[in-house]
């Protein structure tokens, strides 16, 4: 199947790697809103084209994977391109998923295409695990922990503070909270009890470090509800030890059947968040292509995709080797 990628940031590069690693997918082109000549991609021989070129490429691309941001790009992009292509996105503003779904559903249904939204790991694989668990054990509770991993949004928030040259923020689950959940205690946990935030900050020369630390720790929404530690380091140390984008976390579901308790745990430990997320998007592209071939259309999420559609293997192969 012929794949297009729109947007070439960290996620776009992750998708590119996954598509190139898939035996049944061919990367047709990377599309960009920047000057195509300024974008160098990792795939030899693959074109970089202006986003405008998509207007004439309806028949050249089976699935278009949208690698824009959830804040402003995807709410506009996904419905727009679903009117002409099967599309995949990683829309992750949980509160706005219903309206995004509705907009994509309208466009995709009209076009007879499929738009799979909110692919990745949360939303995505974590959502699947929450749904499987609560479907099997309606009596129970789902706990989601994120990290240890880099939050790009929180890192950006720190970088916007005056006097900050660079920063990396790690979200870290509180081990005691995880253990209490695993033991089946069903605790009520506050935001502060679930995660801590570790900030590694490079201050500009002469900047007031005490003020920076105070501004970080008191920042509403981002840090004020958490126990936050701030460590000032040099740019060299940040470059040497904090340039990766690891992430992960776990969904722990504790449920019961009468007196018997059951614990279901799904956890991810990812060296590269964008590369794993990109790999999920590539698998969803495969599913969208096949489901559309079978006549399905409209907006979907990973909850609507039978797992077998994600695999390049046949049903026979899956039943023989993976069931």
């Amino acid at each position: 199947m012929k794949i297009g990628i729109l947007g070439y940031g960290n996620l776009g590069r992750g998708v590119e790697k996954a598509v190139n690693a898939s035996s049944d997918q061919e990367l047709v082109a990377v599309f960009t809103r920047r000057d195509p000549a300024s974008v160098k991609i990792a795939s030899p021989g693959v074109k970089v084209l202006s986003v405008d070129a998509l207007n004439d490429m309806k028949d050249d691309i089976d699935v278009l994977i949208l690698c824009g941001g959830s804040a402003t790009d995807l709410p506009e992009m996904t419905p727009k391109y679903a009117a002409a292509f099967n599309v995949i996105d990683s829309f992750d503003t949980h509160a706005k998923i219903p309206e995004h779904f509705a907009a994509v559903d309208e466009a995709a249904s009209k076009a007879g295409k499929i738009g799979v939204i909110s692919c990745g790991w949360d939303p995505g694989m974590f959502s699947l695990n929450r749904v499987y668990a609560t479907s099997i054990l309606p009596e129970g509770e789902a706990y989601t922990f994120w990290g240890r991993g880099v939050s790009q949004g929180h890192s950006d928030a720190i970088r916007r503070i005056e006097g900050v040259q660079d920063a990396r923020q790690y979200t870290v689950p509180v081990p005691e909270a995880v253990e209490r959940v695993r033991r089946g205690e069903n605790p009520s946990l506050t935001t502060r009890e679930k995660h801590t935030r570790e900030c590694f900050v490079v201050a500009k020369e002469g900047a007031d470090k005490a003020r920076i630390e105070k501004e970080i720790k008191e920042m509403p929404n981002y840090f004020s509800d958490y126990d936050t530690t701030v460590t000032f380091i040099s740019q060299e140390e940040l470059d040497a030890n904090h340039k990766g984008l690891p992430h992960g976390g776990s969904v722990i579901y504790t449920g019961s059947t009468g007196d018997n308790k059951h614990v279901i745990e799904y956890s991810l430990k990812l060296d590269s968040n964008p590369e794993f997320t990109g790999a999920v998007l590539a698998a969803c592209a495969r599913a969208a292509y096949r489901m559309n071939k079978e006549g399905m259309s409209g907006a979907k999420t990973m909850l609507d995709i039978a797992p077998a559609y994600l695999s390049p293997m046949t049903g026979e192969e899956l039943r023989s080797h993976y069931l």
Copy 2:
């Protein structure tokens, strides 16, 4: 939806509990090959009927959940009843799944019904996790560990030894092996390196314990390939401490995207194996009912079921609260 249960052993009781806990399912009757008068069930007011009564109940049951054994019951039962009902089974003889699938597919397709085979946790939830992981990260390896939990097959094998009054066998993953896999070492592990077997045995009075221990440890297929410990205990101790049927295990998948490594782990810790398995079967019954209403038919496995079908919630509810 109206549910029938065929077979009332541990699994049948687990399904009964799950169906009664499901707001959208009603247990119509339990069917048995024994004398119905001899079978007392846990659901007040629900009938126990002879298996022969099924012949006249095509219109009274939406989904029939088959709680027979994989060795001799299900290969015959599932195709037979798929010719008249949507059916669910927990067929778990991995090597024979392709031929069982084919037989059920023929019967169910002809009848316009759905037959979901091999539901449970392995095959079942573990299979799903193997497929999701390998679909996302084709470069990687899946490791499955079982336990700590009671293997009923191995317990039965010990009970067949002369001089044994009762027995319980626990399958236990080797902690070092699990740790090596989690660390991403991708080890090649022999059967002996992955699991040990712990046997708690009640010997009949005057029985030769040394001989019993030797017979257990040398039993081909069941124990000879494992490091096995045998502990003789009294019937009182076995009844007090080993009457439950806990089980569980984990699927650990270590994969990579280029130089970056990723570890996906799915684990279950179940107080009651048959009650959890029964709960999975009840969820699959919900999916089968809905998929059949939408016009689908033939044999399916959990790999063919979009997760949303398993939940009593609507797509809107799932997207708002679980995505």
